[in-house]
């Protein structure tokens, strides 16, 4: 009877000890990101989502440390609430612990898989899985599960080895079935109820090409 209790106590204690530490590679990436004071860039957005047809859109974005990202466009653009936090400021906003899940290969690149778990109640993030390119010190992919805004998968590509911010981001998100008001439909539009029923939740992908970065790094 006592043995299992020892075992539970050891596991809890042991896990707690390990979990308190924040991964060194993540901290290195954070330090690299923290150096970014402000940046602005041009965005090209392509939405690939079931039941939505949208042409390529263009926008500009501006970042200033400690402030929310600002977007402006002459068109109507859809931007993900999450996934554009390139400097990881949202991720590091509240206290968290990291759990090392080992190494994996992602698109031919060895990456370190890391779980980020918030320790407080304030964070909207429930769990984040980060795929770190430890050699270049940057995040190549992530999967973020939020408390309110569902789960997001992000894939990032960088055009140069030394660059801090991505040149291409793919945000995969869950999209629920559309609720269509009948009076907005064309008078001869037919509702395919079977298809509508079957598309309870589908995945949409937002592809972002980011160009013309103007980055102000801290001296």
């Amino acid at each position: 009877m006592i043995k299992p209790l020892y075992l539970i106590a050891f596991l809890l204690f042991g896990l707690n000890c390990n979990a308190q530490e924040i991964d060194a590679d993540l901290l290195a990436i954070k330090a690299k990101m923290d150096a970014v004071n402000t940046f602005s860039a041009k965005l090209q957005l392509d939405l690939d989502a079931p039941f939505i047809n949208m042409p390529t859109k263009r926008a500009t974005m501006e970042y200033q440390r400690g402030k929310d990202l600002k977007f402006s466009s002459d068109d109507f653009v859809i931007l993900p609430k999450r996934g554009l936090d390139f400097t990881l400021s949202e991720l590091f906003e509240h206290p968290f612990i990291t759990v090392d899940r080992g190494m994996q290969t992602l698109d031919g690149t060895p990456v370190k898989v890391l779980n980020v778990i918030p320790t407080g109640e304030d964070s909207d993030m429930a769990l984040a899985t980060l795929f770190l390119d430890t050699e270049q010190q940057r995040i190549t992919a992530s999967e973020i599960t939020t408390k309110k805004n569902g789960t997001y998968k992000l894939k990032m590509e960088y055009d140069r080895a030394s660059t801090v911010l991505p040149s291409y981001v793919e945000v995969a998100f869950a999209i629920e079935k559309l609720k269509i008001p009948l009076n907005f439909m064309g008078s001869d539009t037919k509702i395919d109820r079977k298809t509508m029923r079957n598309m309870d939740t589908k995945t949409g992908i937002l592809k972002l090409k980011i160009t013309d970065y103007k980055i102000d790094l801290q001296p």
Binding site: P55, F76, L79, F173, E176, F184, G186, S187, T189
Partner: protein, 277 residues
């Protein structure tokens, strides 16, 4: 011979007070639809974008002149033809009612040419009304609500950039005008058949409602089904499919024009066979 007849018919049409009442009614309807479209548009966007709002935020507004114009187009093509049909059918029914047709026939006027002049007058009136309506709607919608991207639901949620939306709305107006010409031509032919104004109005309203009901009906005719007149009157809506099938829409519009000519030819044939005296 044809030009003086046409001039006389146009003069008679625009001298009638009911024509101007119709113009005022159409403009009033347009204004009411515009106000309703604004509130409807806000609700529609709220519902359409509700599930996207959970994950995304939007930059720019979709409640703009283009969305209002699209909602107006949806309302207009049912409310407008009835008024146009009443005015057009009066071109012939009033002549029967007042007995002026007999006087006309005592002169050396060809029955065929007289009817052709009446059909042309109806077409000119319809075109002028549509031009007036289009110009005023564009001025009001863009003047008050500005331009912007258009969102439409036709099986899929289609987004169009402002310039593309403007082009498509313009083309939809042109295609809708062909539908209006079809309906007004039908009303003149109904006037020849029924002769009495009230009966013709009821028949015109019935025809309009029937067309609207048949639009949704599926007759199991496969690819030929789209050539049924009721379906053709709604071709304008196809300008809002994401992939524009211009050739198909053009074929549909030509088919509707053929229907219009056939209805007019039928009416002219009936009139020439009729004993006016």
């Amino acid at each position: 011979m044809m030009i003086p007849l046409l001039k006389a018919e146009l003069f008679k049409l625009f001298r009638e007070s009911k024509t101007w009442y119709a113009v005022a009614a159409v403009l009033l309807i347009e204004f009411i639809i515009l106000i309703a479209a604004y509130f409807q548009g806000a609700t529609i966007l709220e519902l359409l974008l509700d599930n996207l709002r959970q994950s995304f935020y939007f930059e720019g507004t979709l409640l703009n002149g283009n969305l209002l114009l699209y909602i107006i187009l949806n309302s207009l093509w049912f409310n407008l033809p009835l008024i146009l049909m009443i005015v057009s059918s009066a071109l012939i029914t009033e002549e029967y009612k007042n007995g002026t047709l007999k006087t006309l026939m005592l002169q050396a006027v060809s029955k065929r040419k007289l009817m052709l002049a009446k059909y042309l007058t109806s077409a000119i009136f319809t075109l002028l009304m549509l031009l007036l309506l289009m110009a005023s709607t564009f001025v009001l919608a863009y003047g008050i609500f500005g331009s912007g991207d258009l969102v439409v639901y036709l099986g899929t949620l289609n987004f169009f950039p402002a310039e593309e939306a403007f082009k498509r709305i313009l083309m939809a107006f042109a295609s809708g005008t062909l539908s209006m010409l079809f309906f007004t031509t039908v009303s003149v032919t109904l006037g020849i058949l029924l002769k009495e104004p009230a009966k013709t109005w009821i028949a015109s309203a019935f025809f309009l409602i029937l067309s609207s009901l048949l639009l949704k009906a599926d007759f199991g005719l496969g690819s030929m089904e789209r050539f049924f007149f009721a379906k053709l009157t709604n071709s304008w809506q196809r300008f809002f499919d994401y992939e524009l099938q211009l050739q198909e829409i053009l074929i549909d519009n030509i088919a509707l024009t053929v229907y219009t000519f056939l209805v007019a030819l039928g009416g002219m044939y009936l009139f020439t066979k009729q004993d006016v005296g």
